[in-house]
Amino acid sequence: MSVSPGNKNPRDWKAILTRHEMLLLYVLIAEWLFFYFAGTTINRRGAVVGFGTLDRQFDILRHSCEIGLLALALTPVIITAGIDLSIGSLLGLCAILFGKLWHDGGLPISVAAGLTLVLGALAGGLNATLITALRLPPLIVTLGTYSLFRGLAEAITHGAITYTDFPASFLFVGQERWLGLPTQAWIFFGVALGVGLLVHRTTFGRAFRTIGLAPEGARYAGLPVGRRLALVYVLAGLIAAIAAIIYTARLGQAKADAGTGYELFAITAVVLGGTSIFGGTGTVHGTLLGVAAIAVLKNGLACLPVVMRMNAAEEMSGLLTGALLLVALTASVLPKILSRFRARHHAPAP
C-alpha cells in the first residue's frame, strides 16, 4: 500500500492514480459535474435553482452529517473485521434519551448532551463487553442490540411521544451556519480528523488492521486484542450519540424512529470507500469519499427534471446507490482480473 516518497518512477504514479480512493474521487467529480449541468435550472421566477446553488451544496453537507458520522464510527470497526449493526438504533435511543433528559429531567441542553454522549459510549461498551468478554461474533451481538436499542427507545416513548420545542440556541447546531458552513459540518469534520488520526497515525490504527487480518496472530504478537476491540465499539457508541444530537438539532425533534436504516447506508459508504468487509484494510478518507459519492448521487437525482417528473427520487437513489456500490466493487477487482487475463495470453509459448 505504501509508496515511498523518494521513489518517483512513473509506475508508482500510475499506482497512486488507480488506487481505489482515487477512482472514487473521479466518480465523485464526474457525478458532481453531471448534476451541475443537468440538475441546475432557472425557475419561473427567474432564480437559479437546483443542484448548482450554494444552498443545495450546504443541504448535501447537512443531510450527510449523521450518516457520515456513523460511517466514520464503522470504519475502525470494519477494519478489525467486525461490524456494528446497532448504531442506527443507538442513534434513535440516544436522541430519545437526550430529549427525555432535557424535557422531563429539566437539565440544561449542554448537560443533557454531555450525559447522552456518556450513555452512548456505555451502550457501545455493552456491545464491546459481549464481543470481547464472551467472544461472541459481532454480527450476532449487534443484531441483538439493534433490536434492543430501538425497542428501548420505543418503550421509553411508548412509540408516541415526540420531544420538540428545543431552544433556538440548540437548533442553531443543526439548522444554521457558523463560519460559513452548516454548524454541524464542523463537528463532522472534527470527528473525521480525530478518527483519521486514530486510524492512520497511531499504533492503535495499526493494531486494528492487524486484528482485522489475523486476530489470533495479533494475540500471539502480544497485542491487547480485547482492549483494542473494546475501544472501537465504545467509540462507535460515542459517535452514534454525537450523530443523535445533531439529528435532533437538524429536525428539531427527537422521536423513537430516528436513524432507522442508517446503519445500512453507513456500511454501504464504508465499503464503497474501499474498506474491506473482511477487515485488515481501509481508510478514513475513503469512507469520506464514499459518503460524499452517495450523498451527491442522492441529492443530485432529486434535481433532475426527468426524475422529478417521475416523482421517483427516493426509489432511483436507492437503485443507483446499489448499482454504484456494485460497480465500484467490480472496478476494484478489475485490475487483478485483467492482469491475470493478460498473463494468460502473453504467456510464452511452450
Binding site: 453531471f34 449541468f37 443537468a38 435550472t41 425557475n43 419561473r44 421566477r45 432564480a47 435553482v49 437546483g50 446553488t53 444552498d55 443545495r56 443541504d59 443531510h63 415526540t162 420538540t164 420545542d165 437548533l171 439548522q175 439529528y247 437538524r250 429536525l251 428539531g252 425533534q253 422521536k255 424512529d257 430516528a258 432507522t260 441529492n299 432529486a302 434535481c303 433532475l304 427534471p305 426527468v306 422529478m308 417528473r309 416523482n311 427520487a313 427516493e314 426509489e315
Partner: protein, 328 residues
C-alpha cells in the same frame, strides 16, 4: 480501450444536452405535494384528485413522500423542494412540530405553503385544507342514521374510548343533532371498543342481546364498523339491525356487499387532493388571501373558509353503489 472511452463520452454529452433542453421547456407553475407516505392507498386516492386539478390548471405537480411514514424524510423532501425553487408546497404533516421548521424555511424562501389532511403549526403555513370538522362529521353520521331508520327507534353507539378527545367531540355533535332534529330516535347505549375489532364485535353482540328493539348500530371508530357488522351477521340479524359508521372503504367492502353494513362515512379523498391543489395555485397567483370567506375550486364549486381553514365540507357517504370506486 480509448475508442470505448470516446464513445462513452459522446453518449454522456448527448444525454446531458437532452436533459438540459428538457428543462428549458418547463416554465409552468410547480406545485409540490407531500403525503405522509406515498404508498398509502389513502394518499394515492388524494393524488387522483390532485392530478385532475393539475391537468385543469396546466401546472406541474410533484408528488413525493417517504415510502414509510417517516417525519425526517418529510423534512428532507421539503428542503429538497426549497432548493429546487418550487412555487407551492402542500403537506400532510406526519409530525406537526418537526415539519414546521422546514416549512418556515420554505416560506422564508418565498414559497407558498399550505397543509392538507394533517395540519402543521399555524405559523408555518398559510392555509389548512380541513377535510372534516367535528360538527360536519357528527351531523353527517346522525343524518345518515336517521335516513336508514326512518327517523325512529332505538340505536346504540360503539366508540373507540369514552375519553379520547376527538371521539368525545364527535359524540357531542351527534347527540346535539339527535336532540335537535330526531325526537323519535333514542340512543340506548354507548360502548367503548378500545379501537379493536374483536372488542367491537363482542360489545356489539352484548348490545344486540341486551336491546332486542335495537334498529341500528353506529360505530365512530374505524375498527368498530367491521366489528359490529360481524356481530350482526353472526347473530343472523342482517338487514334487521343496520350497521353504519366512520371508516375506510376497503375494510368494509365485504360487509357492504353482503348487505350487513349500509353506509360508511368519510370524506372524499379525491376531492381533498383536488381542493388542495386549487388552493395552492390560487395562493401562488395571489388570488387567495388571508381573510377570504369563500374559495371557488374548479368543478367542485365554492368552499367555505373558517379562519385559515378551507373546509372540504360535508362528509362523503360510501354505500353499495359507489364503494368499489374507492381503494383505500
Amino acid at each position: 480501450m480509448k475508442k470505448i472511452l470516446l464513445h462513452l463520452c459522446t453518449a454522456g454529452a448527448v444525454l446531458l444536452a437532452s436533459l438540459v433542453t428538457a428543462t428549458a421547456a418547463d416554465s409552468k407553475l410547480v406545485v409540490a405535494m407531500l403525503p405522509k407516505s406515498k404508498g398509502n392507498a389513502y394518499f394515492i386516492s388524494c393524488k387522483v384528485g390532485a392530478d385532475k386539478a393539475a391537468k385543469e390548471l396546466g401546472i406541474q405537480l410533484l408528488f413525493d413522500g417517504p415510502t414509510d411514514s417517516n417525519a425526517a424524510k418529510q423534512n428532507e423532501i421539503v428542503e429538497n423542494w426549497i432548493t429546487l425553487g418550487v412555487d407551492v408546497i402542500a403537506v400532510a404533516a406526519e409530525n406537526k412540530e418537526g415539519i414546521s421548521t422546514a416549512l418556515r424555511k420554505a416560506q422564508k424562501a418565498g414559497i407558498k405553503v399550505l397543509t392538507f389532511d394533517a395540519d402543521a403549526m399555524t405559523d408555518a403555513r398559510s392555509f389548512f385544507v380541513n377535510q372534516a370538522t367535528p360538527e360536519g362529521i357528527g351531523q353527517g353520521l346522525m343524518d345518515e342514521a336517521a335516513r336508514l331508520t326512518n327517523s325512529e327507534g332505538e340505536f346504540a353507539m360503539i366508540v373507540a374510548s369514552l375519553t379520547a378527545s376527538n371521539q368525545r367531540e364527535w359524540q357531542q355533535h351527534i347527540e346535539a343533532r339527535l336532540k335537535e332534529k330526531y325526537p323519535k330516535m333514542k340512543l340506548v347505549a354507548v360502548r367503548p371498543c378500545d379501537d379493536l375489532k374483536d372488542k367491537a364485535q363482542s360489545e356489539a353482540t352484548a348490545l344486540l342481546s341486551a336491546n332486542p328493539k335495537l334498529k341500528l348500530i353506529m360505530a365512530i371508530c374505524s375498527p368498530g364498523v367491521p366489528g359490529a357488522a360481524e356481530a350482526v351477521k353472526q347473530a343472523g340479524l342482517t338487514g334487521k339491525v343496520k350497521v353504519m359508521g366512520l371508516g375506510l372503504p376497503n375494510e368494509n367492502k365485504r360487509y357492504v356487499h353482503a348487505g350487513v353494513t349500509d353506509s360508511i362515512i368519510l370524506w372524499n379523498t379525491g376531492d381533498l387532493g383536488y381542493l388542495a391543489i386549487y388552493a395552492g395555485v390560487a395562493l401562488a397567483k395571489d388570488e387567495l388571501k388571508q381573510g377570504a370567506k369563500t374559495f371557488k375550486a374548479g368543478s367542485l364549486g365554492t368552499f367555505t373558509i373558517a379562519g385559515d381553514n378551507i373546509l372540504l365540507g360535508k362528509p362523503f357517504i360510501f354505500n353499495k353503489a359507489n364503494i368499489d370506486q374507492f381503494d383505500f
